[in-house]
């Protein structure tokens, strides 16, 4: 049977994907397939909020017992990150409780940076460098925020 998963963000469907599954397979198996297809969500995260016909699905449920249109309200925030290296930005879906430093490291790796002290700054004028030790939420990174990579290493020069 074909199952449609709609991923919602702020009451709007931002992604939808269909997979083919057997009636006797479990919801957990479907979540794994959805996660592999969507790439930006993990199966466990999908299972935390997975609804069909108004009912929260449980991981051990058989697929055949439920409707074919499923919904997941995801709790990640979509962030657009720019790098000074390239004109094209990249899109990331991060948990709100992710540390800025960890997010910066993920973004830096995606842009081909190796090592260093990646950090993130806002696209406001003037820009504000986010605290690597705080969470994205604590630094007021909202869904759809545009950020830019920079190296936050410092203390370059002491000629004495």
């Amino acid at each position: 049977m074909t199952i449609l998963l709609e991923v919602e963000e702020q009451n709007a469907v931002i992604r939808s994907v269909e997979i083919e599954m057997g009636d006797d397979e479990t919801v957990e198996a479907a979540a794994l397939r959805f996660a592999a297809t969507l790439e930006f969500l993990e199966a466990e995260e999908i299972l935390e909020d997975l609804i069909a016909d108004g009912e929260q699905l449980q991981r051990h449920h058989k697929i055949g017992h439920h409707g074919r249109r499923w919904r997941h309200r995801h709790r990640r925030i979509r962030v657009i990150v720019f790098s000074p290296r390239t004109p094209e930005p990249k899109e990331f879906f991060w948990r709100r409780d992710m540390l800025v430093g960890a997010a910066a490291r993920v973004a830096a790796t995606a842009f081909g940076y190796v090592g260093g002290n990646p950090g993130l700054q806002t696209d406001t004028t003037p820009s504000r460098v986010l605290d690597n030790k705080k969470t994205l939420e604590a630094e007021h990174v909202h869904c759809g925020a545009k950020l830019e990579l920079l190296d936050s290493g410092g203390g370059v020069c002491d000629p004495s």
Binding site: S83, P87, N117, L150, D158, P159
Partner: protein
């Protein structure tokens, strides 16, 4: 020495990223390929003054480029008055410094002190004889972190990254540098 046409091949994709970066930040940026020279006009937020950042890329990437501030005609460089005056940054010491070495007959001048700047090395009349020369600029950037001090060297390995670091510290300046 690397033929200029080879350097152009290396720099063009990086210039592409730098142009997009400049557009995002509202910075006037121009590339003069025949001179392998990049020019960027930075505006200081608290004074409205313009500063003329110049990068030269002869033998890039084998050797670090030359970054400095110049006068408005892009000719005179290293003068204190053409440099922004640094204030403390959250990242550590500013990359904008004054330097002179009477022993080596190097007069007082202003420098962008970072591993990605050829002029920060002793060969370029800069303070750093301890970085192994401007051909080692990538290795200096990769120097390990110092316990308790974090990473002492900012890391910038493309032109866009260098501009980003310079702008980062430029945003922590007020007025112009004065001599001495």
């Amino acid at each position: 020495m690397i033929p200029p046409e080879e350097t152009l091949v290396v720099t063009e994709p990086e210039i592409c990223g730098a142009r997009a970066w400049a557009e995002r930040h509202g910075i006037l940026l121009s590339w003069v390929p025949e001179n392998l020279e990049l020019r960027a006009v930075l505006k200081q937020a608290n004074t409205g003054d313009e500063y003329y950042l110049r990068g030269r890329f002869r033998d890039y990437r084998a050797i670090a480029p030359e970054w400095t501030f110049s006068d408005a005609t892009w000719t005179q460089t290293g003068r204190h008055t053409d440099f922004p005056n640094p204030i403390p940054t959250p990242f550590g010491a500013s990359i904008f410094i004054k330097f002179g070495n009477p022993t080596l007959a190097v007069p007082q001048h202003a420098i962008i002190c970072a591993p990605f700047n050829r002029l920060a090395y002793t060969d370029g009349a800069g303070p750093h004889g301890d970085w192994g020369g401007p051909s080692h600029w990538m290795e200096v950037s990769k120097a390990p972190q110092v316990p308790g001090q974090g990473n002492r060297h900012v890391r910038a390995e493309t032109i866009g990254d260098m501009l980003q670091i310079i702008l980062r510290d430029f945003s922590h300046t007020t007025g112009r540098m004065v001599f001495p």
